[in-house]
Symmetry: C2
DNA sequence: TCTATTTATTGTAATATTACGATTAATGTG
DNA sequence: CACATTAATCGTAATATTACAATAAATAGA
């Protein structure tokens, strides 16, 4: 046990859950918000900005990169990160489709 | 360690992460989709619908109820569940505000 | 009251996540 | 090349999550 039974759910359900899961930690939310705020590449100062240790930030960045939400380019000794606009849009589409369902609520308790 | 440092993040960041986290499991996504599809109270047949054991479903329902996304009414021997439309709307607002950020991407790597 | 039905709770095993110190890898500069 | 700087990886401790068997709680009907 302790392991999610992905095989009993649809691809769509797993995809929604996967996106939501990666957004399910405040550090990753903060990283994405920071990248958005700057609206450009961020080279290096992420560790200073969020209040977590460097390996922890690196770990969170890895997860965001793994899902494709950000991309990183090596730039000298530092790495520049930014939002991957295309994949962000894809995620937005998937999540919005789920969140924006119409609710008639014709009869409810 | 192993415990999220919520105190170093803003309330908004924690709120977004909390919503996302509860959507971060396919069983909970499936439950919400099912409630939406029926567009009415669901009394009892949730365990048959999702392919998980009854205590597991009960646990997921508890988390959804805890965040306010669903509400349950006791109806005889069974319990009727449905989406809490008001709270769902609140979540949608919070999540959309985060997801719909504009990205100029004036200079990116 | 007894029984059947349905949901919640408890307990627990397996696994995943979070965080960070220590170390390694990669690259630019003197 | 040696050294400084920065990010990634490794190892690991603490905690959280997921799943389910067993049991308890609640209620309807006989």
């Amino acid at each position: 046990m302790g392991l999610t039974k992905t095989e009993i759910f649809t691809d769509k359900q797993n995809q929604i859950a996967q996106y939501a899961k990666v957004l399910g930690h405040p550090a990753r939310v903060a990283i994405l918000q920071y990248l958005y705020k700057l609206n450009a590449c961020v080279c290096g100062d992420l560790v200073g900005e969020i209040g977590l240790a460097q390996p922890t930030i690196s770990q969170h960045l890895k997860e965001l990169k793994h899902l494709g939400l950000i991309k990183g380019n090596v730039e000298g000794t530092s790495v520049c990160y930014c939002i991957d606009a295309d994949n962000w849009k894809k995620m937005k589409t998937v999540m919005s489709e789920f969140l924006d369902q119409d609710l008639n609520q014709k009869d409810c308790c």
